[in-house]
Subunit: 711 residues, 2 copies
């Protein structure tokens, strides 16, 4: 779009692009958020207006539209991809009346009159020669000079109308701050709460939030800074290799330099300016990192061109982060809940609904953020929910949760979920085992944490309930009900009512039967929750599994493995290839092991059509025909039958084998199995069975199966 | 290409893009040169290496290639579109041996080994999640930190090998300069000669030429600046509306700011930094503008964010330029020649050949630059040729020429060509009239200048000679010969020999006949040149014509008109629409009048097939059938015949009429005329005749023709 943006701006065509700012593909693609894409357009002549939160995304959408109509400068209104675009927040929704009031008809008509029409022919898209192009290019100056004033005027009108006040540059913090951070985007919310907390304790720190980044008003920027400022840290959520520094840093240096040249008395002394990068590709930016930025400013020789949020052990750009720093929210602390679900199991949808319930039924603010793996369906999703009496500015993941729910039993041995549980918190497990038998079925490491943190431990067999009710893999309503029952965030009866209303609304169009299934699920969930009586000591012989097997190559052990185990944030810069070049054929070491049920072959019912193998979307059902001699050393229970069809297959044995750790349990094989056994026409040759009790044996069978040579 | 550039750089793939930097379409498209396109890529991670001249374009192409292979950082090697890409200069060509020596085989092999191949499978193009993308992005830091050192090392190796020395930032000027300009591109050559001239006269001025703009080495930049500098002007050949300033300006501010923070004693005081724009869309940047930039730096309150080269009467950004400033080159002054030709008449090609002849046969440097109208064929081309004993750094058009040639007689009444003639210079006119009759055929304004400037005035009837020899409109060889004969830049006999050799080389493959025609053209030209004995006073009753008629609308009078008359550079910013919106239907006011011959209709031979009108590419032959009553008031000589075909046409009259001032004289109508008159099968109904004697009458006929209503 960049070439078009020059043209749109050059022709002063009012427009707003609403952009969920995302990263760019460099050493690797990233679908996640930072300002790299927006910064690639900063020279086009578009205005750039940044909103930092979900509420601001709505407010600034309207402000940008009003400003572009009056100024004729086109705008990119942007906000952080994922962190803001995918965050659920309780906001005040602007009404159509607000919008009408902000967008005067005469400006709309004037815009329309500038449209090309044969009724009033005019010419655009000319070519200009060296004699006049430069003059033509300078005609827009007046418009750019006026735009900051217009945006502020529009913001003031908005404030009068709606009550929320914005400035081109908003200052937060100590009125006599010496250390000031300048930034924009969702990270400014985290910085806001950190600065407010520290300034409240008397520290002379402050924050300038850039709202209007282009046209950049030097005057408004300098006016936002306290006169007492002595050092400024500019935080850029982008990287421009080869530049002296990133864009905000260079702009702030320029603004300070120009100011000091024309008004030497504006500040107590020429403020030191440094710059740093954070949050690339949606890298976390939390209150500890904010604190690290402010600490760096306080040092005698602050590190310039720093990074924060990673460990750069190669060029030593990274700041040290103090993991013990916490903001004490006191009474206003939010209730934090984390949910580990499987992609497409409905967990995320249910959590969004829970936020709506709490937001609608109480005065609480509510925030939800959902971490998806880019593997999408079948991988882990983590939901981070906060509810509390104060506006929630924590634009980062929950590290310490009051409530942790594991919606998939198989996660227990792979992911350390309870490291996020607060001492005395609640742990809810979707479990095939009931409260009396579950304890010995969970890994020793999990037991250890439950005991040490004195967690309340609940189980519910949501898979069983869902299956019995005909809901298949959709365990969401059951787990949501369990959450409300045991978390105590709001009165259970009220919540259950709301869930039921939501069910009517969501499933009403699908018929009575579906509605009833879900209402039944709520009831069954309420009955099915069991508290586990936690023994005083670790008893399990099971242990958490390493993410990749010990025979995997070194790179897979040291880089891929931690990434699979969700420990990728801890990997230092030196761990990574400099040019994005990776070894191949490494997926074989990732055993995702996510199937709750796996297909088991029934040799007697099989007509050997091969449909199960052809249709398996994950290539985890395989077929072989082989000489009978290979059965001599086969493990106990390894299944086989005579190969059908004669010819080349005459005298051979035949096996259908599942790869139990690669299977996702989707059941496509069962769907496709024709099961045309004459005697029992309804009997399928492939049937789903619980994975857990079968796994060990099937893994052994699969490994033996792999060792049989292809014919 | 921008998205791909991030990826190429992120993967550290060695490559060089050689870019002729051009403007971008904003309020209007411009095919001409500035740095807007290159600046749109400065954040991608590519290295940016800028060459300022034709010689440097070759040198830096090699240096960039050597640097990318060693550093793995990809490069954009760029130079100014048109000013450098289309300039002809005498340069030292690098040999294949030089190239081999600069590109070590092992680096080439290493590059090839990084290619993707199934023989050594590796994976690129991965997707990274928030856990690791940021770390991956920072892996390239080392490479960018090393690149400036590598580029300097490569430049040093080049200097040893070839003898031309370059630095990352090259300084020119007074060793204790107080006022310093920072810039890159062809404009730096004009600034170089201005600074060198003024510093030679003791003025404390200097110039830093940026060679390696990305990665930007702050250390190397600061090292290039004299410690005595007190004020710096940064010149950007791009515009970024809404930014505080343009890229070089912000980078220099950042570099100076960082330096002053870490080493307060580097400069005698904190240098003032200002920025300005010049040369957008190939706007001229000459020694007077260079002087204006240096003068601005000397003022107590230098204008910041200025423009130079235009008159910005709206936002008052422009600097005042002193039109009396000239660089006195003394002995080293170049011979300057200007040629006004018609697009596709061969003038430009012949001039390129003349430069080659002078460059090859003498020790002189030679430079040629050619101004094309974007109308291409059929519009005016101006050739600017300089020849001299010193390296020519004048990267701007000739304003005062020793020799002016007008290759098209019709230009005389439209363009003021002699304003560029030096007093006592030479004027060569391609004329239908000989030395004895021409004087009274040229406009009074031209006579006036010839007399006032005491010009030597020569004519040659190149059109006639070309036609007689069968060369058609290709008058180039004839005019080239005339130039060498009367300009005296080199010995005529030597030049004629060289022209003849060039003819053999250029036309040899087209056969003896074509070669002979051109050789004959040389001989005929030598005979055909006539010096005009210039009378002491203005005698002509002819006058130069306004570019548009007096009844044209105001916008056409005040804006389009001066542009047509090549006075567009004088138009101020206020003359232009702010958003590139122009009135329509204005081409009717531009009577280009470029046809040397026009088609004249022969009613008796016409079969009224209409082919002439259908095929005319310029829609300048038109046909009408009308009642005989319209002939009553027709002007004398208005041609008409009975309409053929009966039916609706029965009893009507019929006319084919040329629009003599719109016709380009291409002759397509004659080509297409079937001329199937039974009695005289070779007689065409359309024939080309000299325009000049027929124009007045045909214009009257055409205007009357227009007044006849369509049936």
């Amino acid at each position: 779009m960049i070439p078009n943006m020059y043209k749109i701006a050059g022709e002063l065509t009012s427009t707003v692009f609403h952009v969920s700012a995302r990263s760019l593909a460099c050493q690797a693609l990233s679908i996640f958020g930072d300002h790299s894409d927006v910064m690639a357009t900063r020279q086009t002549g578009f205005g750039l207006l940044c909103s930092n939160s979900v509420q601001e995304a709505m407010d600034f959408a309207l402000i940008a539209q009003a400003a572009t109509l009056e100024s004729r400068v086109p705008f990119v209104h942007f906000f952080d991809g994922f962190r803001t675009s995918h965050e659920i927040q309780k906001i005040e929704v602007l009404s159509v009346e607000d919008m009408k009031a902000m967008l005067p008809d005469e400006l709309v008509f004037a815009h329309r009159r500038r449209g090309l029409t044969p009724d009033r022919p005019m010419l655009r898209g000319t070519a200009q020669n060296p004699d006049v192009y430069f003059q033509g290019r300078e005609t827009v100056n007046t418009f750019y000079l006026q735009t900051p004033g217009i945006v502020q005027k529009v913001m003031d009108k908005f404030a009068k109308l709606v009550g929320r006040t914005y400035k081109l540059f908003d200052y937060v913090g100590h009125p006599e701050a010496e250390r000031v951070v300048v930034m924009m985007g969702s990270g400014a919310e985290a910085m806001h709460e950190t600065v407010a907390y520290l300034a409240g304790k008397g520290e002379k720190v402050g924050l300038v939030k850039i709202r209007l980044y282009r046209p950049f008003s030097r005057e408004a920027f300098v006016a936002a800074l306290p006169r007492t400022v002595t050092s400024i840290a500019c935080l850029d959520r982008t990287k421009e290799p080869g530049a002296i520094g990133e864009p905000i840093y260079e702009d702030v240096r320029t603004a300070i330099g120009e100011t000091m040249e024309c008004d030497k008395t504006r500040f107590s002394r020429w403020p030191r300016v440094i710059g740093g990068r954070y949050g690339l590709g949606s890298k976390e930016f939390d209150e500890q990192m904010c604190k690290a930025v402010l600490d760096n400013l306080a040092s005698a020789q602050p590190k310039n061109h720093f990074t924060v949020g990673i460990n750069d052990d190669v060029t030593a750009t990274s700041l040290t982060v103090d993991p013990s720093f916490r903001i004490d929210y006191g009474e206003a602390a939010a209730h934090c809940a984390m949910f580990y679900g499987l992609g497409s199991d409905g967990t995320v949808g249910a959590n969004k609904n829970s936020i709506k319930i709490i937001g609608d039924l109480t005065d609480n603010y509510a925030q939800g953020y959902f971490v998806y793996d880019s593997k999408k369906a079948g991988s882990m999703t983590t939901s981070h929910l906060r509810f509390g009496p104060a506006l929630i500015r924590s634009t980062y993941l929950i590290r310490t949760a009051d409530f942790v729910a594991c919606h998939n039993f198989s996660f227990l041995e792979k992911y350390d979920m309870l490291c996020h549980a607060k001492p005395g918190g609640v742990f809810l497990l979707n479990s095939l085992y009931d409260a009396f038998t579950v304890w010995d079925k969970i890994p020793a490491e999990v037991q250890q944490q439950i005991i040490a943190k004195k967690l309340k431990f609940y189980v519910i067999n949501a898979v069983n309930i869902a299956e019995e009710l005909g809901l298949g893999a959709r365990i969401n309503t059951i787990m949501q009900t369990a959450f409300f029952k045991i978390s105590g965030v709001i009165d259970t009866a009220v919540a259950i009512d709301a869930i039921k209303q939501a069910i009517h609304k969501s499933y009403g169009s699908k018929g009575e039967k579906v509605v009833k299934m879900n209402i039944d699920a709520v009831e069954r969930a309420l009955e099915g929750i069991q508290e586990v009586s936690v023994p005083g000591r670790v008893t399990s012989t099971l242990h958490m599994q390493p993410p990749v097997p010990p025979h995997a190559p070194e790179f897979v052990q040291t880089v891929t493995g931690p990434m699979i185990a969700f420990k990728g944030d801890d990997l230092p810069v030196s761990a990574f290839p400099v040019d994005g070049t990776y070894p191949t054929a490494t997926t074989q070491y990732e055993k995702r092991n996510i199937a709750v049920k796996i297909p088991i072959w029934d040799p007697e019912a099989c007509i050997q059509c091969g449909m199960c193998s052809v249709y398996c979307p994950h290539a985890s059902i395989r077929i072989k025909a082989y000489p009978p001699s290979h059965l001599e050393n086969a493990p106990k229970g390894f299944k086989s039958t005579d190969a059908k069809g004669g010819g080349n297959l005459g005298g051979l044995k035949f096996t259908v084998q599942v790869a139990p750790e690669d299977c996702t349990g989707c059941g496509a094989c069962v769907e496709m199995c024709p099961g045309k056994n004459k005697q029992e026409p309804d009997r399928k040759a492939i049937n789903m069975e619980w994975q857990a009790p079968r796994r060990e044996e099937e893994v052994a069978h699969y490994n033996y199966f792999l060792s049989i040579p292809d014919p």
